[in-house]
Symmetry: C2
Subunit: 409 residues, 2 copies
Amino acid sequence: MPKISTKANDMPASPIRKLVPYAETAKKQGKIVYHLNIGQPDIETPEVALNAIKNMDRKVIEYSHSAGFESYRTNLAAYYQKTGINVNAEDILITTGGSEALIFGFMTTCDLGDEIIIPEPFYANYNGFAVTAGVNVVPVTSYIETGFALPPVEEIEKKITSKTKAIVICNPGNPTGYLYSKSELEQLRDIVKKHDLFLFADEVYREFCYDGAVPFSVMNLEGIEDNVIMIDSVSKRYSMCGARIGALITKNKEVMAAALKFGQARLSPPTIDQIASEAALNTPQSYFDNVVAEYVERRNIMVDGLNSIPGVFCPKPSGAFYCVAKFPVDNAEKFCQWLLEEFEFEGQTVMMAPANGFYSSKDAGTQEARIAYVLNQDSLRKAVICLGEALKVYPGRVEVGSTETAAHN
Amino acid sequence: MPKISTKANDMPASPIRKLVPYAETAKKQGKIVYHLNIGQPDIETPEVALNAIKNMDRKVIEYSHSAGFESYRTNLAAYYQKTGINVNAEDILITTGGSEALIFGFMTTCDLGDEIIIPEPFYANYNGFAVTAGVNVVPVTSYIETGFALPPVEEIEKKITSKTKAIVICNPGNPTGYLYSKSELEQLRDIVKKHDLFLFADEVYREFCYDGAVPFSVMNLEGIEDNVIMIDSVSKRYSMCGARIGALITKNKEVMAAALKFGQARLSPPTIDQIASEAALNTPQSYFDNVVAEYVERRNIMVDGLNSIPGVFCPKPSGAFYCVAKFPVDNAEKFCQWLLEEFEFEGQTVMMAPANGFYSSKDAGTQEARIAYVLNQDSLRKAVICLGEALKVYPGRVEVGSTETAAHN
């Protein structure tokens, strides 16, 4: 039997989906499982998008242009301009989800063995895209105690070698929900300018900013127009995760031309989904106002609830719909598995994503878990109660701070 | 300004879309351009598929399972069983087009610098997927004089090195339309068994076989179940190129588990398109009977028409909707460009894909072009007339056979 590749062996399994078999067993046993593990919002897709699909009058579902429909790119550019980001249609390559945009971006900028620096914890699939592109992830650790703020410039610069090609951020962040300030982004600008690096920014959660916080796009950092590659997606913005429509956006003509070659090889992003995504651009502002208000409530229920449990610490994030909490447990992965396998409270339990899968440094984040607050408020309240009850009886409970040193290494 | 990667520089531009700017200019000048360059059929998508999209009653367009909806995989397995291919749902990974299935397949089986052997001419984007995966394509040349039959076993074995991981075929073939016989496939079986290689077969044109020819799937080759990876797609079968739904199919559990990790990283194939693809499985047989009858007519108009032009040779293929013709010209790429830039006959001209882009060997196929007979019969007749007129006046016309030796090197 022929052997699979080293790359295939190196490819990480998804930390978000790793515990799925345990959840399936729990559900077969009749338990209600509150899914806080995956960022699949329950928010309804805007009607304008659903109607565009229903009313599609094409007789043939044809390929689009490899860069996406021109009308969609033009209208998408108008959306960016409205949000204060000066982008034209030719700066946009429509991709099959933000995932493909990241893969095209890594492939276009990095060769085998090149390095990309990412503040950790970071969106776990960046690891998968890095393995796919043959690139090494070099983490620079951010800490729960500071709410996962950008690590100091000198910590980042320490990681730069002759192999470093890019810095990658997610803003607002998955899994942390942290929103970088303009001044933090300017620090990144100075670093990439000084060392001639690319700066990737995954800004798919742009619309999800709370308490009056306003996101600052890397596209608006002056003097590094050729360094910046923005990643975007309709998945979260319009609750259209299954549409698989994203975008790679850059002013760098050479990057755009090269990324298009990868786009041509796979022919085109999906047609129907582009039609839905273009229609979604007409979603009324009231939709977002309602969604943001709902997420603020959900965040408060979840984060305040977590912090009211003895020994649990969870910084309150300003964006996205995730938070990372630290639990008084021996090991968060064991705890998450135990929640599904061993625990129930009034027939219910909780599924979370252990945070170690979001760190690249070994043994970092071992007491932490990522929580996606994408369920209705009632379910979130019940999930918090479950977690409180669970921590009263979990056999691996430890005193707060007892493994803190290990987690920082 | 930071530099793009070597990989990005190595990435080939699409030979099918390369001449697009010339076609756009021709159309702006008022010329009618018959597009024989791209395999975008004008056949209508089955109504069952279009209706499934129109009647979709989901309120949230959610992710599917990373391997695709279970119901779709189950029903797709039933389709294979009906066509005599013994496949179960767990042998199927739903992908974003056949393109993604090939990329996952190459990534799963090959590391940087590994080699895959492909009979040329081959579907040009295999080059792009190979660059994406860091794999080297080793061509073994097939010839227009034999209708692009499988090269002799000894020619294939000559190419095998310690780096060889797989043989890749497309059956029926794009760009040749050639349908491999069972005996040719058994020769491949013996080679991959002897040398412990993977055998990829892109069988997306399975339904398009003519003159009573019956395709034989690699999945039915006995004794190499763990070597075989079949690639499939709904694009051509249901004229749903824009749906971007394909599949990677294998009995090799290790390959399937590894490919799924690449699938998890990109979350899921598109949801709406899977719903359409699942519904398309209920397309009545009469749809295919009509489509096949139509393509036989089209093929005959095109191939017989080409062969009636002095100096042109085009073998008559048994499958797909492409043919490769040899023209009495100095260089087919120049000829194709000249057709768009300089030529017109009664306000019309023809766009073809120069075949050199489908060969990996330098200078192979320089007098050949790929033709997709995907237009209505009237347009195809006019296109043949155009080509005949064009060859009367093309300044680079040469005597038949004058560069034949070069083409074989």
